[in-house]
């Protein structure tokens, strides 16, 4: 940890309100509210014991208590120090995942979808040879597709490229 402090943010001084911690506490409280709201729509049909709505309420109570606990930790600045994070690669990978989902959703097939994710992830980790990576990705995913389709007889989604095989 100490090594990273040299290049990253200086460690946060203790006893300072941690904004991220407040947001986490708020999210937990929100989740508890959703659980209670959802549980209200359930009808209890059991004569004895617990109905389906009891457990969500119990979990919601736990979440609410933990929201308070996290809130107190955040106010006291008790969260562990964080290093600086670079948002660009994270966003790139998320774009890759979004592309994958979109291509699968619109019937583009396994090979195209996986290749898109491979190339964006590789770029996120600093590679700039997009053409080379694209070729590697297409060859690799075609081989995986064939292995799954022919050897394991597991069906992966097909698109224009798969129909050519």
């Amino acid at each position: 940890m100490t090594r990273d402090n040299a290049s990253g943010d200086p460690a946060q001084p203790p006893r300072r309100v941690d904004r991220a911690g407040i947001v986490i506490a708020a999210l937990l409280a929100g989740l508890a509210a959703v659980l209670v709201f959802d549980a209200r729509g359930l009808s209890s049909t059991t004569m004895y014991g617990m109905g389906p709505e009891a457990m969500p309420v119990v979990v919601a109570c736990g979440l609410a208590l933990l929201a308070i606990g996290n809130f107190i930790d955040a106010l006291r600045g008790n969260l562990p120090a964080r290093e600086s994070a670079d948002p660009v690669p994270v966003v790139l990978i998320l774009i890759g995942l979004a592309l994958l989902i979109a291509i699968i959703g619109f019937g583009g097939g396994f090979i195209l979808a996986t290749s898109a994710l491979f190339v964006t992830t590789s770029a996120a980790f600093g590679r700039r040879a997009i053409l080379v990576d694209s070729i590697i990705a297409v060859v690799m995913s075609t081989l995986i597709y064939l292995a799954f389709d022919r050897l394991l007889t597991l069906s992966l989604p097909t698109g224009p490229l798969e129909r050519l095989l």
Partner: protein, 500 residues
Amino acid sequence: MMDTFAALAHGMAVAVQPMNLLYALIGVFLGTAVGVLPGIGPALTVALLLPVTYKLDPGGSLIMFAGIYYGGMYGGSTTAILINTPGESASMATALEGNKMAKAGRGGPALATSAIGSFVAGTIATVGLAFLAPWLVDFAVRFGPEDYFALMCVAFVTVSATFGDSPVRGLTSLFIGLTLGLVGIDKLTGQARLAFGVPELLDGVEVTTLAVGLFAVGEALYVASRRHHSEEKLEPVRGSLWMTKEDWKRSWKPWLRGTMFGFPIGALPAGGAEIPTFLSYSTEKRLTKYPEEFGKGAIEGVAGPEAANNASAAGTLVPLLTLGLPTSATAAMMLAGFQQYGLNPGPLLFAERPDLVWGLIASLFIANCMLLVLNLPLVGLWVRLLAIPQPWLYAGILAFATMGTIAAKPSVVELSMLAGFGVLGFLMRRYDFPIAPVVVGLILGPIAESQLRRALAISLGDPMTLLQSPISATLLALALIALLAPFVLKGLGRFKATED
């Protein structure tokens, strides 16, 4: 006693069938290959390889699983020693001394002592498993639903609160898992909970989707976000691969001591291999004749923790097989593997499918022997896997991770959940929330709920049934103590701090 030998012999007969030997070999090979990749621990190894076993019969698939499990453990220690990126916290102690040894040109002996120590510990602990399991099964037959519920409460608390850095953050992770476990159709009344009208959510959250999202996608996002920090360098294996006589003399006692720490702690529903590995590390540091070497690459500091790590891995199989209670993320993934075939580990499984259970236990022995043979001569091959450039490595991991989901359920909703869990895993890593309790919560939450509801239905809604059973009352008291202990201890610590 004799029954155990007979059952084990029967299991051995199942495990040495040529097809099953082949499954074990494939499992061991895949497990090591995936486990050796940096940042991938045994839990993720099992999660990633779960789809590969879909089409096999339950027996063969579980045997392959045993191989993957042990293979992932071996692979993880290779990574810890050679690039100092422990895939999971249980390998952290190994990385402490092992990486120093590799830097000092003693990577070969470090790998050897960890492989042989893992073999010794794994074998002793598997014997322990074989003898402890039937005894625990006899005990577990008497468990009523209220006792099971109480036992799960103990597991919830110990996995999330007692042994983590912060009980509040551990419990937060657990409750996120419990919330995810509520999603879907309620089995007793058929009503949909937290499905929000999305048909794909009616079946509930898939364990593999959650685990792969949290571990694989989350890890990739996390590593990408901090790539600008310094990178760990791969240490080449220089010099002899073999241990000298001196190395053997310094290793065998730590192996045995590590096993003594690892197996009992792993077998308790306390969860985690971190405690025994660090206990073993500090014990070896205290007992060594070469205290000056600690921190610079002492072989005892590799031998002990590695043995403890593997022994506790076999130990966690005790509550998993006899009670259906997963106490680590890896055990939770194993349970998911059982559930994929509609099998529920527990006393009933020992009675109904002895071939399956004892075949699995016997193949643990076989996997262990295969790993010893496979690891020492082939270490050069695994090291080459470590040299894959980081961009391709993580691109490949993500492609493989999404492929599992695409093969199982190629729907936009399922893939979006995978991505969502990835973001959750990233945020949890960034803000230092433990991940294993989420997976354990998702798996155990629904089981705990149905046991509690069954207990209350039998007692006509009287909650006192939980305290009237002596087993359940004791376990609930234990859970309460385990829940409050860290807060009390922390309070004491603070009190002391202000006094100074």
